[in-house]
Symmetry: C2
Subunit: 311 residues, 2 copies
């Protein structure tokens, strides 16, 4: 089934202990789309400027991603400059140039209206809610957010949360959103505010899914114990940028590729999320996500199983 993703398509300038790159292709929607493209059809809604080349777009289209919803406007593309020299676990933003992204108003092409799954990447919750409203028929909606929206735009964010089948955020965001330093209690509070399921990402320690009575529509209360997927211990993290969006792409891409979202499918999707995140960080930018094979992905999936299963 097809996934529609709305979010940023950008250029990133990044420094890490492994080196630096200037204006490489990035953005949440880009990482998500490339990652999900190994599992299902993906359509992108975003905005780029005149500096976005045909070759940039071909990175997406070569992976079969539908870019008809990628609006080209006058001006420069969103440009993020960040550093991981202090810590590989947390990006230090050096500069955010929103450029054409500042006035981004997502428009959904008619050809996208039959999309089955919707991913609301980390953008203004007002836009997330707007896109959600325009896609009333999707089967499943997942979304991301970040500290800025949680802290400064809570009221708008609160309107989006009840629309989500699953919210994907990290430890710090979850604790901030719930105003609770205990992760399990925080999860309970967040689930009470709307999303049916909550996926909390722990970086190098993997991710945990917390379920509610509403997680599996046809089978209320089916999964009650949280589910924790591991992350792969890596001897070299070249560039952590996009790891979370790549996780989301693997997770949601796998869900969309399956006939039904059961607890077993959801758990496998958590593993595929970790698998795609682990690939993303092996090279700068989207480089690694451009060149994978499904065989490599499934081999690493087996490794995740071996890493965490008793038998």
């Amino acid at each position: 089934m097809s996934i529609l993703v709305v979010g940023s398509v950008a250029f990133d300038s990044i420094e890490t202990p492994h080196g630096r790159v200037d204006r490489v292709l990035g953005g949440a929607a880009t990482f998500f789309a490339l990652s999900a493209s190994y599992f299902t059809d993906v359509r992108v809604i975003g905005v780029v400027g005149e500096d976005f080349s045909a070759e940039n777009e071909a990175v997406l289209t070569r992976r079969g991603v539908d870019t008809r919803g990628l609006e080209h406007v006058a001006g420069k593309s969103f440009h993020w400059t960040g550093s991981y020299l202090k810590s590989l676990n947390e990006a230090q933003t050096l500069k955010t140039e929103l450029n054409v992204f500042e006035t981004f108003a997502p428009k959904i092409p008619a050809a996208y209206e039959d999309s089955d799954f919707l991913f609301l990447a980390n953008i203004d919750p007002v836009l997330q809610a707007d896109v959600r409203r325009q896609m009333p028929k999707v089967k499943m909606v997942c979304g991301d957010t970040m500290n800025y929206w949680i802290h400064d735009h809570r009221e708008n964010l609160n309107k989006v949360l009840p629309c989500l089948d699953a919210l994907l955020i990290n430890d710090g965001e979850a604790k901030m959103l719930a105003d609770d330093g205990n992760l399990l209690r925080a999860a309970g509070k967040i689930l009470a505010t709307g999303p049916k399921t909550l996926v909390i990402k722990h970086g190098e320690y993997g991710a945990t899914a917390f379920f509610s009575e509403r997680s599996f529509a046809e089978k209320p209360g089916l999964a009650t114990v949280p589910f924790r997927a591991p992350a792969l211990p890596l001897d070299s993290v070249v560039d952590p940028t996009g790891a979370g969006d790549s996780f989301a792409g693997g997770f949601f891409g796998y869900l969309a590729s399956q006939p039904e979202v059961t607890p077993a499918v959801f758990k496998r999707a958590m593993f595929y999320g970790g698998v795609m995140g682990s690939f993303a960080v092996e090279k700068f930018g989207t480089e690694r996500l451009q060149q994978l094979s499904r065989e490599e992905i499934d081999q690493r999936f087996s490794r995740f199983r071996e890493l965490s299963h008793l038998d």
Copy 2:
């Protein structure tokens, strides 16, 4: 098979967001022994002062722990005062009164000489090496250490590491010991310095075992992929004191209860470690570890499996 543990038996005064307790029974050997006692016979070597009551000792003997190696001397027992008000993830030491522990010289009773397994809890590596020398016939030796010994007594510690079948330390200790901020690389470096297997504890994120060619004596190179055991998301951590020693007790206790240490047994032991750690933090001090049943333990083991397994 029987385990001999050498380490601290102490009184702890602790404050956490859940309250405070004064001079409750604690110490690494105490937590380890109580935890391991649910799996196998345990013998303790330690030293206590005149303030250590018959009732204190009965906490151990009621669980079948052999305390003949617990030396009673004039003076006061080791007393640790700590706070978790700033963070539940890291104890803030307010006061360390070594008292009788300052001149601790472990003596091994003749009745302990046939012990099959040896656990060297976190004490001076000179004493760890001394005990190891006195127990040449044990089948397996595991050990713990801490930042203080890593930083200030490295040379002595370096003599202990090659004697260990498994070293159990936490993330920060591993990175400090290897002088490498990447956990997988750090693990490789530590394994190269001696221990056959390395278990790194991640607190609320579980623990990872890193294997070497020498991990399973009869079967070199048997396990190569690391193994990650989850921790149970808890809605209330009352007192983190002793969680690591309780992990070690569950881990080593289970190993000692099995006819052979195979990779499959080792992985199950990692789960039992997590299980016992999760119980320990539910109440202050050793309270929770005094009242468990094997049925509760195995129920929680099943929960760990459900939490982390795809099928």
